[in-house]
């Protein structure tokens, strides 16, 4: 790999962190942060659920359940489809609440 001759260090500029905490959408930055936390938590729940499905698959096929076996498990096409549908349903159920626009009930 060629690197042209220069006396300057090879890094260019300092790392600029993502502009994460600007633009408070929910009126209070804590609420924005809670949204972030809820999504992160949901992702962890899904990761745990999927891992459990892999364990169940290994057990059902009487294979040894090891860290390596879980990490390298390749779902069957049927499992891919079924697990994707479950994930989709989980997202619809949990984040479907965002569809609630908060309109005042009629008559009020």
């Amino acid at each position: 790999m060629a690197d042209t001759v220069s006396s300057k260090p090879t890094y260019t500029v300092e790392f600029i962190p993502s502009v994460t905490r600007n633009a408070v959408f929910l009126g209070n930055p804590v609420l924005d942060n809670m949204m972030h936390a809820i999504i992160a938590l949901s992702a962890e729940v899904w990761a745990g659920q999927r891992r459990l499905k892999v364990v169940e698959s290994l057990l059902a096929s009487k294979r040894e359940v090891t860290f390596e076996a879980i990490e390298t498990y390749v779902p069957t096409p049927e499992q891919e489809k079924a697990w994707a549908a479950e994930r989709d349903l989980m997202i619809k159920t949990t984040f479907g609440a965002l569809l609630n626009g908060g309109d005042a009930p009629s008559g009020s």
Partner: protein, 388 residues
């Protein structure tokens, strides 16, 4: 597990988290996004909105809509979720990449032994402000951060994150290679420049090189040069291309003014670069592509399919979300650029403008056409092509 043989290796939990984020984004950008328009139509829309045609009036109205939507709980909740999904995507991508950087660096060393292509970086390259001022699409470190002479992080981040993002917004044709732009560009060339046999090709702003490879594959005899502003970006692109069997010469350069000689390429392209620069840089990049093109050569600038003349003011406002909250610096500029007038002023001829259909199943058939209006959903890319 890898998205392709040279991508960062993901653990099972990495894969699960990224799959979750892609699926959540799909929901946010489809059925949940529709709620924003319902709010607008119920409480904000005016009868005159649909008839506005003056660009200045549209701009003023977009701004009014944005300020009113920002007070709407539905939009607030949706925006908070979209931004969090973007930030978490990069967090998970970063965790996966950081866990595999050592292996990828060793892989690069291995591939360099018999490399068909090359890579060159320049530590004194000045980074333009539209890159250095913020993290574009909230990717930590942006395109240009370079953490050392063997750093690959920015390229690996973009390769992985870009694929997840495209899957999330419904663009599934390129799947995990994320190369629909390259295939669409080739489809455009096959249909509208069928006799083109370029000996020398330049891809301006190639990032991780994922859309350079389809061009290499379409013209296997050509010398392919590809440039990007980021050193870690082109190093990773070099690893990726070598590993996937493509011969590309990568270099760290600024597309506004490259180090190549006048009229030294037969085909010059850029793929979704301009909307991440500035209006002034857009003109300089297109002028540079003219300078580099041999007489009779072809230029193709491919962009995101967002054009304000084909959108009502609410859709225009929706697009500005990317500018205001996702650090896409020139989405609006690109959506308003009159590429035909610009091309004519710079001296291009035989200008073609329109939405090029994405080839179904990946490879171009030669039948995909350019249309004046966008296809439903992410089914096309916007193209400006011309000859010198």
């Amino acid at each position: 597990m890898q998205f392709h043989p040279e991508s960062p290796d993901l653990g099972a939990n990495d894969l699960s988290r990224l799959g979750f984020i892609a699926d959540l984004k799909k929901h946010l950008y489809s059925r949940l996004a529709i709620g924003n328009r319902k709010v607008y139509e119920k409480r904000i829309a005016r009868d005159t909105d649909r008839s506005l045609s003056d660009p200045a009036e549209q701009q003023a109205r977009r701004e009014e809509i944005r300020q009113q939507m920002e007070d709407e709980p539905y939009f607030q909740g949706w925006s908070a979720a979209v931004r969090a999904s973007q930030d978490l995507m990069w967090l998970y991508v970063g965790q996966a990449v950081d866990g595999d950087l050592g292996r990828m660096a060793n892989r690069l060393t291995e591939l360099e032994r018999g490399a068909k292509g090359s890579v060159e970086t320049r530590s004194d390259l000045e980074i333009p402000r539209y890159i250095s001022a913020s993290d574009i699409h909230r990717m930590p470190g942006n395109y240009h951060t370079d953490q050392g002479p063997r750093d690959l992080r920015a390229g690996a981040m973009y390769d992985l994150g870009g694929a997840v993002y495209q899957l999330g917004i419904g663009n599934r044709q390129g799947a995990l290679l994320n190369d629909t732009r390259g295939h669409t560009l080739v489809a455009h060339l096959r249909r509208y420049y069928p006799s083109l046999k370029p000996a020398r090709i330049l891809d301006m702003g190639c990032s991780a090189g994922h859309n350079t490879i389809p061009i290499c594959q379409a013209f296997p005899e050509a010398e392919v040069q590809a440039i990007d502003i980021g050193a870690a970006m082109v190093r990773y692109a070099h690893l990726r291309a070598e590993g996937l069997g493509a011969r590309v010469h990568f270099s760290q350069q600024n597309a506004e003014r490259t180090r190549f000689e006048d009229q030294s390429f037969d085909l010059v392209v850029s793929q979704i670069v301009l909307h991440e620069t500035s209006p002034e840089a857009t003109e300089r990049i297109i002028a540079e592509s003219y300078r580099l093109l041999r007489p009779g050569g072809v230029v193709v600038h491919l962009e995101v399919p967002i054009r304000y003349e084909h959108s009502d003011v609410f859709d225009q406002f929706s697009r500005t979300w990317e500018e205001y909250y996702n650090n896409e610096p020139n989405i609006g500029g690109a959506a308003l650029t009159d590429f035909r007038a610009l091309g004519e002023r710079l001296g291009f001829r035989n200008i073609l403008i329109g939405y090029q259909s994405i080839p179904k199943g990946g490879a171009a058939s030669g039948e995909e056409t350019l249309s004046e209006k966008p296809a439903f959903g992410p089914g096309s890319w916007y193209i400006f092509s011309a000859t010198r």
